[in-house]
C-alpha cells in the first residue's frame, strides 16, 4: 500500500521541487525523484508478486462513493516499464535537455512535465474509477502536449495544437460515455460495473468511451496527429510520448472491454477493433517505409506497433475469454505493450544522440554512425529486433503468443497480419540500419560520452531480455487477471 502511494506522490513532489527549488538544485531533485519513483515501482511489483493485487480506497471511502486504486499484475508491470523508461529518459535528458543545449525554457520545463506525466501515468495504471481515469487522461494529455511544444518552434507548436485538438475530442467522447454510464448505473467503479445490471444505454456508453480512447491511442484512422507530434518534440520527450503515453489509454480500453463490460463484447465490435489494428499495422508500416527522417520512421512505426495490440480483442475478448488460448493472447498483447515501450524509447534516445552529434536525423546524414558511436548502433539494432518480432526478444514472445492464439482459435487471418507486420517492420527498419551501419561517415560527429550512449543500449537490452526471461513476467501478468480460469495452452 505504501508502495502504491509512493509511486503516485513521489513524482508529484519531485515535479514541485523541479519548479520551486533554486536553479542549481532542480535537475538533481528531479533525478532524485526519478530514482525514488523507480524504487517505488519496483517495490510495488515485488509486493504484488508476493501478496497479490494491492487495493486502496482513497480517504477510506469505499466505492461507489469513493475511488478505489488497485495494482494488479498488469498495472504493476506497466508501472515498472514506465519507471524504467522514465529513468532512462531522465538520465539522457541530463545531457540533452540541459539549458545550454535545449535553451532555458525547455531546460526548465522538461523536468516538471516529465515527472507530472509519470505521476499521472502511474495513476492511470492503478485507478479503478472511470471518472478518475478521465481526469488522469486529461492530465496526461496536458503534460504530453506541453512536451511536444516545449522547443517553441512554430512546427512544434502547430503539431502540439493538432495533438491537443484530437486529444480534447477524444476526452469529450470518453466523458460522454462516462456520463451515460453514471446515469444508468450510479457508479463508475470498474469492479462494481462488472457486476451491474445491463442497461440499454451501455452499448452507446462503451462505444463513446472506446472511440475517445482510440483517438488518444492513435489507432488507425485516428493516427494522423501522432507522427508529427512525436517527431516535433525533443528526442527525450518523443521517447516518452511514443513509448508510454498511448499505453495509458490502451490500458483503460483493456480494462473496459475485459473487466468492466466484457458482456458487451459482441463479435462484430471485436472484429472492428482488430481490423482497425490490422490496418494500422499495414498502413503505419507502409508510411514508415516512405520516410526519410529517422524520427519520423520511428514515429510511424509506433502507429504500426500499437496496431498489433488490438488483435487481442477477438482473440481474448467476448466469448473467447473463456477459451484456453485467451490467457496467451491477452498476455501476448501486454508483452507487445511492454517490449514496444522499451524498444521504442531506446530508438528515440538513439535518434536524440544522433541529433546532438550530427545536428540532423536525415538518414542520408546518419551514414556510418555505428562506426563513430558503436553503442548507439548496437542499441538501435537490438531495438529493431524487438520491433521486428525476431527471437529471442520480447517482441517475439508477444508475437508467438498472439499467433498461437490466432491459430488455436481458428482465426488465422490475424496470424497473417502478425507475419506481414513483422516483414514490414524488417523492411522499414532495414533502411535506418543500413545507413547507420554503412562504412563511410561524411562528417566527424560531436563526441558523445559513453555513459550517455549506454542509456538506450540498456533499454534495448531490456527489451530483448523480456523475451529471454519471459516466464516470470508471464506469471506476473496473470496476477489479478480478469479471467484466471484459463491457464494458457
Amino acid at each position: 500500500m505504501t508502495a502504491l502511494v509512493a509511486g503516485l506522490t513521489l513524482p508529484l513532489l519531485a515535479a514541485f521541487a523541479a519548479i520551486a527549488l533554486p536553479m542549481r538544485a532542480r535537475v538533481p531533485a528531479a533525478l532524485l525523484g526519478a530514482g525514488l519513483t523507480l524504487a517505488a515501482s519496483l517495490w510495488l511489483a515485488v509486493v504484488v508478486w508476493q501478496t497479490g493485487p494491492v487495493t486502496l480506497s482513497l480517504g477510506g471511502w469505499q466505492p461507489p462513493i469513493g475511488i478505489a486504486l488497485r495494482a494488479d499484475g498488469l498495472g504493476a508491470a506497466l508501472g515498472v516499464m514506465t519507471a524504467l523508461v522514465m529513468t532512462a529518459v531522465a538520465l539522457a535528458a541530463r545531457h540533452e535537455m540541459a539549458a545550454s543545449v535545449a535553451g532555458p525554457r525547455a531546460g526548465f520545463g522538461f523536468w516538471p512535465l516529465m515527472l507530472l506525466l509519470w505521476a499521472t501515468m502511474n495513476a492511470a495504471f492503478v485507478s479503478r474509477d472511470l471518472f478518475n481515469l478521465y481526469v488522469v487522461l486529461e492530465l496526461i494529455t496536458l503534460s504530453a502536449v506541453a512536451l511536444v511544444a516545449i522547443s517553441g518552434k512554430a512546427e512544434a507548436i502547430a503539431a502540439a495544437l493538432r495533438y491537443l485538438l484530437f486529444a480534447l475530442a477524444g476526452s469529450l467522447l470518453y466523458l460522454a460515455g462516462v456520463v451515460l454510464t453514471y446515469a444508468a448505473h450510479g457508479t463508475l467503479d470498474i469492479s462494481l460495473l462488472a457486476a451491474r445490471m445491463a442497461a440499454p444505454s451501455d452499448a452507446l456508453a462503451l462505444g463513446l468511451m472506446t472511440a475517445g480512447l482510440l483517438v488518444k491511442t492513435a489507432l488507425f484512422p485516428f493516427h494522423v496527429w501522432l507522427p508529427h507530434a512525436h517527431s516535433a518534440a525533443p528526442a527525450p520527450a518523443s521517447a516518452l510520448l511514443s513509448a508510454l503515453v498511448p499505453k495509458a489509454s490502451l490500458l483503460i480500453l483493456l480494462r473496459l472491454w475485459f473487466e468492466a463490460m466484457p458482456d458487451l463484447a459482441a463479435p462484430a465490435a471485436l472484429l472492428t477493433l482488430a481490423s482497425l489494428g490490422a490496418m494500422a499495422v499495414i498502413w503505419g508500416g507502409l508510411l514508415a517505409l516512405a520516410q526519410a527522417r529517422l524520427k519520423l520512421i520511428v514515429a510511424y512505426s509506433t502507429v504500426a506497433q500499437l496496431g498489433y495490440i488490438f488483435l487481442v480483442f477477438p482473440l481474448a475478448g467476448g466469448d473467447g475469454g473463456a477459451q484456453v488460448w485467451a490467457a496467451g493472447a491477452w498476455t501476448g498483447a501486454i508483452f507487445q505493450t511492454l517490449s514496444h515501450g522499451l524498444a521504442k524509447a531506446a530508438m528515440f534516445l538513439v535518434a536524440g544522440i544522433y541529433l546532438v552529434a550530427m545536428g540532423s536525423d536525415r538518414l542520408s546524414d546518419l551514414r556510418g554512425m555505428a562506426r563513430a558511436l558503436p553503442m548507439t548502433g548496437f542499441a538501435f539494432a537490438l531495438a529493431s529486433i524487438t520491433l521486428m518480432g525476431l527471437p529471442p526478444s520480447g517482441g517475439f514472445t508477444a508475437k508467438y503468443l498472439l499467433m498461437t492464439a490466432a491459430f488455436a482459435s481458428g482465426q488465422w487471418a490475424w496470424a497473417l497480419v502478425l507475419a506481414a507486420g513483422g516483414l514490414l517492420a524488417a523492411a522499414y527498419l532495414y533502411r535506418p540500419l543500413a545507413a547507420i551501419f554503412a562504412r563511410e561517415s561524411a562528417v566527424a560527429p560531436r563526441a558523445i560520452p559513453r555513459s550517455w550512449q549506454a542509456i538506450p543500449l540498456g533499454l534495448a537490452v531490456l527489451s530483448v531480455a523480456l523475451g529471454l526471461l519471459s516466464s516470470v513476467p508471464f506469471e506476473f501478468l496473470q496476477i489479478g487477471r480478469p479471467d484466471p480460469a484459463a491457464e494458457g495452452l
Binding site: 529471442p392 508467438y400 499467433m403 491459430f407 551501419f437 562504412r439 516466464s471 508471464f474 491457464e487
Partner: protein, 487 residues
C-alpha cells in the same frame, strides 16, 4: 551434470562471443585466445559426450519462456553429428580466419559475430523442440548478417540485403508452419513424434510445404537459393563458415529434423510429399551443377556447387529409406569437410596469388603445391572418386534410392557426377598441366591458412578410407539411423 552439459556446450561459443564484442581492436592475443580456447573446450566436451551418447546417454536442459514456448536443449546422436562437424570446422576456420585477417580493423566485431554464429548453430543442433529450433534458426540469421556485410562495400551490403530479403520471409514461413502444426498437436518435441491425426491431409501438406520453404531458403533449394551466390561477396572465412558449417548446413539439418522427427517417414509416404521433395532436391542438384559450370569466378562456382551438393542431404531425407538417410546424414559431414577445404583454398589463391578467376589458376600447382593438392582432393571428393568422402555418400544414396524404389534417382546421381567432373576437372587441369601465365606468382608460405586446409583435406581422405570404422561419420550416421529410425 546432465542438465549442465548442453548449456556448457552452448556457452563455449556464447561467452567468447559476448566478451569479444567489448574487446579493443588491437587486443589480438586475448581475442584469439578466447576464440581458440572456446573452440578447444567445445571439442573436448564433444569428444567426451560422443562416448557417452554412443552408450545411449542423453543430456537435456529446459528453459520455459512462456506456456508452449520452451527452449529445450538436448544432446542426442543426430545433434552430436552436427555439432562435432561444426565444432571441428569452427576451430579450423578460426585458425584460418586469424591468419586471413591479420590485424585488419573491426576484428572484435567480426569474431564476436563469428562465435555468436557458431553458438546459434550449436543451439540449433541441440534444439530438442521445434520452437527452440526456430529461435536458434533466427539467431543464426541475425548473427550471420553482419558477417556477410563485414567488408561494408557495395557488393557486401547488397549481398547482406539480399540475404535478409530471402531469410526473413523464409523464417516467417517456418514460424507459420510451426504454430499451425502446434495449434493442433501441442508443442512438438523431437523425441516423441507428434500426433498428426488432428489435421487433415491437405493442411498437413501445406504445413510440410511451409516447413520446407522455411528451412529450404537456408539450404539453398532452387528456387530459394538466390542469396547464396550473392553472399560470395563476403570474406573467405565467412564463405567457408556459411557453406560448410552454419547456414546452409542448418537448412539441411532442418530438413532432416522436419522429415524424420516431425513428420516421420511413414506420414511422409502417406501424405505423398516425399517424392515431390525428392524431385525438388534432384532438380536443385542438377540446376546447381549446370549453373556452376557457367561461372568464371572460383568462389561463384563453389557457391553453385554448394547449392547442388547440399541437396544430396535433402534428397537422402526425402527418399525416406534407411540407407538413403545414412547417405544424406553422412553427406552432412562429408560435404562440410570437402567444401570447407575448397573454400579455404579459394581464399588462399586469392590472398597469396591474387587469383579470383578460374583462368588465373593456370600452372599454380607448381607455385602453390599444398593449396593445389588440397583443392584437388576436395574437388575429386566432390566428384565422388573412391575412396574419398563424396564417394561414400553417393554410394549410400544410390543404394537408398534402390531401397526406396526410386531408381530414377540413380540417373540424377550419375548426371550430377558427370557435371561435377565437368566443372572441377578443368580447374585441376589448369592447376597442374597448363603453364603459368607470365607475371603470375603465388606461394603457400602461410601456415595459418594452409594447415587448416591440409587438415580438412586429410580428413576428406580419412573419412572415406576409414568409413567402415564405427567412429567414422558413416559409422555414426548408421548408429543414428538404427537407434532412432530403424525398422
Amino acid at each position: 551434470m546432465t542438465t549442465a552439459l548442453p548449456v556448457l556446450l552452448l556457452m563455449t561459443s556464447l561467452l567468447p562471443a559476448g566478451v569479444t564484442f567489448f574487446l579493443a581492436q588491437d587486443s589480438h592475443a586475448l581475442r584469439n585466445a578466447l576464440q581458440l580456447g572456446g573452440a578447444v573446450l567445445k571439442l573436448a566436451l564433444i569428444i567426451w559426450m560422443l562416448f557417452a551418447v554412443a552408450d545411449g546417454a542423453a543430456y537435456e536442459a529446459e528453459f520455459p519462456l512462456a506456456p508452449g514456448l520452451v527452449v529445450l536443449l538436448r544432446v542426442d546422436a543426430l545433434a552430436l553429428l552436427f555439432i562435432s562437424l561444426s565444432a571441428t570446422l569452427w576451430f579450423l576456420t578460426t585458425i584460418y580466419a586469424i591468419a586471413y585477417f591479420g590485424t585488419k580493423a573491426e576484428l572484435s566485431r567480426f569474431f564476436g559475430f563469428f562465435s555468436l554464429c557458431v553458438a546459434a548453430t550449436t543451439g540449433l543442433a541441440l534444439s530438442g523442440s521445434l520452437i527452440s529450433f526456430f529461435i536458434f534458426f533466427e539467431l543464426l540469421t541475425l548473427s550471420t548478417w553482419p558477417l556477410v556485410a563485414h567488408k561494408q562495400d557495395k557488393p557486401s551490403l547488397r549481398a547482406a540485403r539480399v540475404y535478409f530479403a530471402y531469410a526473413l520471409p523464409g523464417s516467417a514461413a517456418l514460424l507459420w508452419a510451426i504454430i499451425w502444426l502446434e495449434s493442433a498437436t501441442g508443442p512438438v518435441l523431437f523425441t516423441e513424434p507428434p500426433d498428426l491425426s488432428g489435421l487433415d491431409p491437405a493442411a498437413l501438406r501445406a504445413i510440410f510445404a511451409l516447413f520446407i520453404i522455411g528451412v529450404g531458403v537456408k539450404a539453398g533449394l532452387v528456387p530459394l537459393h538466390g542469396w547464396l551466390p550473392a553472399a560470395m561477396a563476403a570474406p573467405a572465412p565467412v564463405s567457408a563458415l556459411l557453406h560448410a558449417v552454419a547456414v546452409v548446413k542448418a537448412g539441411a539439418f532442418g530438413v532432416v529434423r522436419v522429415v524424420y522427427d516431425v513428420f516421420g517417414a511413414e506420414n511422409m509416404t502417406a501424405l505423398g510429399v516425399g517424392v515431390p521433395l525428392a524431385i525438388v532436391a534432384s532438380f536443385t542438384i542438377i540446376w546447381g551443377s549446370v549453373r556452376a559450370l557457367q561461372q568464371d569466378e572460383i568462389k561463384k562456382r563453389l557457391a553453385f556447387s554448394t547449392v547442388s551438393q547440399v541437396s544430396y542431404i535433402v534428397l537422402g531425407a526425402a527418399l525416406a529409406s534407411p540407407l538413403a538417410m545414412i547417405g544424406g546424414l553422412v553427406h552432412l559431414i562429408h560435404q562440410g569437410l570437402m567444401k570447407i577445404t575448397l573454400f579455404f583454398c579459394a581464399g588462399i589463391f586469392d590472398e597469396r596469388a591474387g587469383v579470383k578467376r578460374i583462368d588465373g589458376l593456370n600452372g599454380m600447382g607448381a607455385q602453390m603445391p599444398w593449396t593445389s593438392a588440397c583443392f584437388s582432393i576436395g574437388a575429386l571428393g566432390m566428384i565422388g572418386l573412391p575412396p574419398l568422402a563424396g564417394f561414400v555418400s553417393k554410394f549410400y544414396l544410390g543404394l537408398g534410392a534402390l531401397e526406396a524404389g526410386a531408381p530414377w534417382v540413380l540417373a540424377v546421381l550419375l548426371a550430377s557426377t558427370f557435371l561435377n567432373a565437368a566443372y572441377f576437372l578443368p580447374i585441376l587441369y589448369r592447376l597442374w598441366f597448363l603453364p603459368l601465365a607470365s607475371g603470375a606468382k603465388g606461394d603457400d608460405r602461410a601456415p595459418g591458412l594452409v594447415v587448416p586446409a591440409v587438415v580438412t583435406a586429410a580428413a576428406t581422405v580419412g573419412v572415406g578410407m576409414l568409413a567402415a570404422s564405427p567412429i567414422s561419420p558413416l559409422g555414426w550416421a548408421t548408429l543414428i539411423v538404427t537407434q532412432g529410425y530403424g525398422p
